[in-house]
Symmetry: D2
Subunit: 426 residues, 4 copies
């Protein structure tokens, strides 16, 4: 190619980096992806509602939190037909490229950013080079901007190749809040996918290193619980209240005490709390946001059940009510060894790859597992691939950045794997 | 007088009722009081900064919470000279009426409202008769509107009477948050007060009933404590955090377990909490709002010291930092028996009074105790008087209301007491 | 009398002091009382089973703890007829002295000692003068030895007097564990009692001071709760257990957090705990001993109900079972003002009395309230009288002792009150 | 051999089974081992004090708990020279067999039983066949009786073989309480050991199955902590106490909340508690027995440090003192792969072996790790071998039993491994 792929990928990534949008609010990001797809010329573009099983969406924020982002996108000039199809928390796109008979290969990337104020220090390259977040308080601090760029690059590369078969790229919304995975898994577009590749950049792997397939992503559930008691004057008649504050504190203390499990790793956290109205009033209502994880889906479910029990008992202890509610959830699914092996073999031939790790335990959660589970339950193969990149600081920090030379590596790996699969299916 | 006092008092009370303002934000209320004082024609009006020892103010909200109320007052046409003197949390007025030689008598009332949405039901008279709160979400649900009306009525009545001496009326801001008492006590205006009368309406006493002096108001302190830890990924490395959520929960559990005291009643409450950023992040910061009370100042201080110890130990347990800070505070002071007796005697002669209770335990807190303590420490006498009123529901509820016929009773009681004291000092 | 009453009372008190026996194990003490009663020559002596409503006994220890004390008494030469009637936790005596027509007057004293090792220091008079406890680890550290001596002295004095009527003395067992009061109250012997006098020495009142009647003894309940879970290997499979240790800790934390009550003083304490088998085993069983108190019986019952709720919820939280059980209990009963006044009047004429306090709040619990309640429910009058004594250290300490000159004061007060009541009933 | 090895091993195992003794009290067991060693005719027998670094013993019970077992052994006819050398908690033996030049091979087995009442049901073979525990309340419920029998059988087999080198057998006391490992590791006898084999029977592996070397035994520490406060009357003046019960409950709640660690498995448990004197007294002293474990020694130490922090902060919170003390401890050490491989190879040739597992994670703790660590730190190799046996119920249950046909398998495996090592050292 006479064309500078590296620079093209880098430009794309920077464009997405400048306009980070949180889960279910990726209006502008979705639109930009659509435009790129139109430019590339794929066979089908399913936007928003068409790309999602609406009822399976999780963790959708209230309209009041969606609206300002829609407005912002509209003001930035986003096409109204795209806004219409994505309004109300229906972001995301699926692209379909058909190149004759052959296997159907899926690639899944994620669109959303997190709420974090990006560093403006001069040694933070996005700040120095002028592509720092323009949405103050939000940032692509996890690398999803790079994922999207690589997916678009892959489509382009595959379209230009001898690839025979179908390539579907799933641009999933709301990964950070485990909200979009299930809705995309149930969209119908996954039904004929034979091989699914998911992707993450970095995660402490340097540029040139590839992990062919991760294992043991943690199954996860995010729960919210509101303890509802009765207020009373704390000086005059504390006994007339039902103290939601004491109920919440008891629940928190005991949540962290849920027994470790013999079958493997579990996690529990109460990460957010809010409640009560004044220091002199027995708190009527206190809400906690909690999550549980497990090395297997069963371990996560064990911990979730225990957490629910803890909440109910804590409420009862202080004469309060509570109904813990699951906001979002994702299972644990391993990469398939055969697909993993194929990815590993392809990787050795990719320019810039210096080390290939066959498999690694993941240790965190990802709702792509819904898509992986769906494909593997239907007899397909899935693998979650890590593309190393030198990153100066950890993911989810204000100075997170990537080495953009890894964009070409990831793009090549994905496209070469797709081509290899179309020729020599495993 | 040919003039209908009852209706005049009622009109005043309703005017204040329509425009409730929370503590340190009583810009419009202060201005209205000033206008009334100018109309009555008192000898000195100390407004805002002049009426307060600025450094002794407690619980002053940040400028960002003051500003909108100042704006609202400005838009409502409040005089800019008054706004200038009250800006930045300097609300309140002191009126001085001089009528020759004689004792100096003080009366203290309070200006602020609470944050509560007033009922709009048709059986709630302020709603039915068109004087419901026009500041949505705020309400005179404790009767301070009535206090102010009675104080103004008293000034007028005393001005017209044979009273000899000086009458000072302290229109104190921020009583509900125990913020203004100390600042007014230290304003200098209290230094020559021989007798101080404080006032509350209702408190479960019906119209026609007077309590000549309360005893054992609870000493109180409001504390805030922010537990500061370190965030970490709750799935990947919970051990790398310092969990402010666990620290707060431990503090809450143990706060309520502070030992009851042999010397008398104590109270402790954690009434508000907020912290953490997401369910999957170890909480870096959690803030609690707490209060302690005691039947005596010493008992309150015992409980406060224990609460501080609990906070420090809870922080240490989870490797967090904390510095509990007292936001506001008030001592416990009893009414003076001699002044109480005089009020009781006067009360029997007031029209509409059917029952006089000599003394009653108070059971709640009031920062007028700073003023009472100041007067009594200097050898003066203070009494906190309850003026009964039929109130359909409890104070601090959305349907709180008063029987306006009690306004005349309270006004007469205060003015007659002042006159009696000028003639026969105790 | 030519006879040295002081020395006689002192000898008696010392004899009881030397042989302290804990609740329901006062075999030797009971026998010694019986011998004294036989010497005095009363009209009826109800021993053990005859003096108790067997089913109403509370806090009776298991046979294995009773037996050694019975054996010890047998070895000390206690008459077998008395042992037969008191075996199995049936200690106590009621003496009836009939002297013609007239009111029936009851006096109640208590027999039991506590488990505490008496001081052997030379400045502890019982040690110096050779009447230190001979039952190592047990001690009359509350003054019951003095109570018994005064009751016997009173019987003797009344028998020799012009008293007309019936005098019944209730030598109650197991006061310290609130075990014997109800059983004696329901024995039938109380049914015709018109006036009941109960008695305590000391309680920080010096020799020469009398409190004619106490008020507000705390109602009390002693509960035991065993949390029953399931053991498991703490290293291998903590999740397979049901952790009774966590359940107990949760219960304790929340027990102390039971809300203070607007109606008055409450208390809660978990004073004893035991459970688990080894550090590496999830605890299957943990037992707590707790108590609740209240200024009124209703307040105690509120606290007891809350404590039970706390226990149930804590068990549920950790998948354990629990059934809190009330071991013993006593209500709150005030002294009758009329009887209190009469006692106060009589007291002024007693030799050695220098100060009479009409009434005092009690602040602790006493199961004589069962007897007082019974008498007053039937229309009679009861008063709980304090007889001051200089005591070098607090009750329930190893160096507790009394000023024996107070024995004559207490004896005179009781006998003179009985005589006065027989002549001028209130 | 014409001689029935199976029956001989079985007789030995049953003899030990009949007389279980807990840690540091294996007086009779030690003596019986000595007698067997004398019969076999080894070259050196180090008994008790000679086999231990006295100062390194851990978890030695107080003399009052040792004495009754010494007496019982004396009454059973144990030789006084052996009792002298083992008195005061110095049980254990080391046997040395020297057969010319060659490597020094160590085998370690354990002597102690646990406190558990053995089943007397007829379907429990030890009960049916008459070798049930004669020490009621104690039982060989972990298989140490089998370990000792196999070690003696191995000595005999090796003595009769072509083995060239030195064989040392370490009969270690107090394994169950992690008390004896370090003392034997530091005895000096381990200094020249080139290869160390440790041994466990069962652990859910059936007869015929061998695990050649375990990995990741959990590092472990057992801690005791006494919270020391001040007692006070719970009704009269709870504020005068310093509540050790609240301190302990707070510590327990927070101990279970110690964060899970990103580096691997941790465990924490509070398995035993005792304290307080009565329900109506603020508890002055409460003692907890706790343990922490970790997949690595560092993880155990992290958890131990956190637990100590929790204890200190809980004490401080309630104005108590505490000094957590480590009672016993053991590191985590993996089996050496080379030695593991050799054991695995030998195993395939042992009669009765049907399956050889190369390696397995252990999941529990064992203080043989002190010996393994010592050998491997000096450049030697150690492996912890599992010998399968059909066991009807779990270890540490009243019906635990083994399939005695596994005794010959274990004996052959050990002796053949020793012989192999003397001929072809790894």
């Amino acid at each position: 190619m006479s064309y500078d792929v590296g620079s093209r990928l880098s430009d794309l990534r920077r464009a997405f980096h400048r306009h980070p949008e949180p889960g279910w609010r990726e209006f502008r990001t979705t639109a930009r992806v659509v435009e790129e797809l139109e430019r590339i010329g794929v066979d089908e573009i399913a936007v928003g509602r068409d790309a999602l099983a609406t009822d399976e969406r999780m963790a959708v924020p209230p309209e009041s939190e969606l609206e300002p982002w829609l407005e912002r996108a509209r003001e930035a000039g986003v096409r109204s037909d795209i806004l219409e199809r994505t309004a109300g928390g229906h972001t995301g796109v699926i692209a379909v490229l058909e190149q004759g008979p052959g296997p159907c290969i899926g690639i899944r990337v994620d669109l959303d950013a997190i709420s974090m104020r990006e560093s403006s220090e001069s040694d933070h390259r996005p700040a120095a080079d002028g592509f720092r977040s323009e949405h103050d308080g939000y940032m692509h601090a996890c690398g999803h901007d790079a994922h999207v760029a690589m997916a678009l690059g892959t489509l382009e590369a595959v379209a230009d190749s001898e690839f025979q078969g179908t390539l579907k790229v799933f641009f999933q919304p709301a990964e950070e809040i485990s909200g979009g995975g299930k809705a995309m898994a149930e969209s119908g577009y996954l039904d004929d996918v034979d091989y699914l590749l998911a992707l993450h950049i970095g995660l402490d792997h340097p540029t040139g290193e590839i992990v062919a397939g991760i294992e043991k992503p943690l199954a996860m559930a995010h729960l919210t619980a509101t303890f509802e008691g009765a207020s009373a004057h704390a000086g005059k008649a504390p006994n007339e209240g039902a103290n939601a504050m004491q109920a919440a504190a008891t629940a928190i203390q005991n949540a962290y005490g849920i027994p470790r499990h013999s079958d493997g790793l579990t996690r529990v956290n109460v990460g957010q709390i809010e409640g009560g109205t004044a220091s002199n009033v027995i708190a009527e209502e206190v809400t906690i946001e909690a999550e549980v994880r497990g090395e297997t889906t069963a371990l996560m479910e064990y911990t979730r059940t225990e957490l629910e029990r803890v909440c109910y008992a804590a409420a009862e202890m202080h004469d309060c009510d509570v109904t813990p509610r699951v906001i979002s959830e994702s299972p644990s699914v391993d990469s398939h060894p055969a697909l993993r092996d194929l990815v590993g073999n392809v990787a050795w031939d990719v320019d810039g790859v210096e080390r290939v790790i066959s498999s690694e335990e993941f240790g965190v959660s990802e709702d792509v597992t819904y898509l992986m589970e769906r494909v593997q339950d239907d007899g397909g193969f899935a693998s979650y691939v890590l593309v190393g990149t030198d990153h100066p600081t950890s993911h989810h920090t204000p100075t997170f950045d990537i080495d953009e030379s890894s964009l070409a590596i990831g793009t090549s790996l994905l496209s070469e794997t797709a081509i290899e699969l179309s020729q020599r299916p495993v």
